[in-house]
Amino acid sequence: MKTGLAALALLLLTGGAAPAAAADDLLARGAYLTAAAGCVSCHTDKENDGTPFAGGHAIESPYGIFYTPNITPDSETGIGGWTDDEFLAALREGIAPDGSHYYPAFPYPSYAGMTRDDALAIKAYLDSLEPVRQPNKPNELRWFVPGRSAMGLWKALNSPWDYAEPAAGLERGAYLVRHLGHCGECHTPRGAGGRLKLSQELAGSPKTASSEGAPAIDNSPDGLADWALSDIEFYLELGMRPDGDFSSGGMAAVIEDNTSQLTPADRQAIARYLKNLR
């Protein structure tokens, strides 16, 4: 009887607050996952002091310049009013609400492995932001780049990335690296058509005239073989390499907006996964 009363009292005390607490939890989880997925790095025009998530950041690539879109919940220029299914299709399949295909400059082949719950937590967080009315800029692509309609064929041939199962105990690190963090989009070499060479996961991509390239971050001698787990964790937290040099370029933004925001346990999971590659 005493137990029953206590339970009733607890229910009365928390009954009104529980949904609000759950919503807060969802937003907090969404904010964390949004950081882990690195959304703000690409969807913010930092060069021109743009509002976070309002888009306009120029991604220079061998295919031309892609301008990232506004993902604040503005109903005309952003993603306001999108249903859960529309958001999931965009994030994991690269399909816009009007049915058109996105270019894979948006890393949906990596995000394809994101769980539905995590993706919808990100949506809940983005929906909670202040809407920003800012029209998207058209891309400036090179003459040989086909229109978005051709991306359907590209996806059929290439996407999503077909990763092997991670080793036991490394699942969380694999999820963070491969899907949320989409590290392979820069650090894995690509073959014909831009498909990632998954047999060389995170083995680095070469610097070219139109790309700054990215170093190997697997456990090879060219990569992180000489780094201790703690060196990697520290780098992901504060951006300093073991030799005292600091991260630069795109990776500095990744550390600022993404990996420094993660829990120590998640940084450790990433480090363990990377050290296990090769």
Binding site: E237, L238, M240, D243, G244
Partner: protein
């Protein structure tokens, strides 16, 4: 034919080798590199403390103060007779911007001293990163990228 090709290669390579050697002999450039190396080592030392790889928490502030002293030298490390090595010509083309960037590094180092004196790990880590980023911000604009 092979000998001729080798001779051409040697002739092409010589000027670059000679320039690199000349840079190494220039005392101003050597001094700049020594100071930069000192700054880098100061970061390594503080990094080891922050990671608790060495149990010397009281020496964080000592290192931060040393960094703050040395970082004040940066503004004077680029006299006209020190052009070359990995320093890009832009440094001498926009001295005011360089001075502002050097001052940002000084401010960041001073903030690190304050945080290190206070002793809160989270605040130190934030200030440490900001100080490192202030260095990297300059390197991105004014230093030739490493291979």
């Amino acid at each position: 034919m092979l000998i001729r090709l080798t001779a051409v290669c040697v002739a092409l390579a010589l000027p670059f080798g000679a320039i690199a050697h000349e840079n190494q002999k220039n005392p101003e450039i050597r001094y700049r590199h020594a100071i930069m190396e000192t700054l880098s080592n100061q970061f390594v030392a503080m990094g080891l403390i922050l990671q608790a790889k060495v149990d010397r928490p009281d020496e964080m502030a000592v290192n931060a103060r040393a960094l703050a002293e040395n970082v004040r030298l940066i503004a004077g490390l680029f006299p006209d007779n020190s052009k070359g090595a990995k320093a890009l010509p832009l440094i001498w083309d926009e001295p005011e911007k360089v001075a502002q960037a050097a001052q940002r590094a000084v401010d960041a180092a001073d903030a690190l001293v304050a945080a290190a004196t206070d002793g809160n790990r989270q605040a130190i880590a934030r200030a440490f990163k900001a100080a490192g980023d202030s260095c990297k911000g300059c390197h991105e604009r004014y230093k030739e990228a490493d291979d």
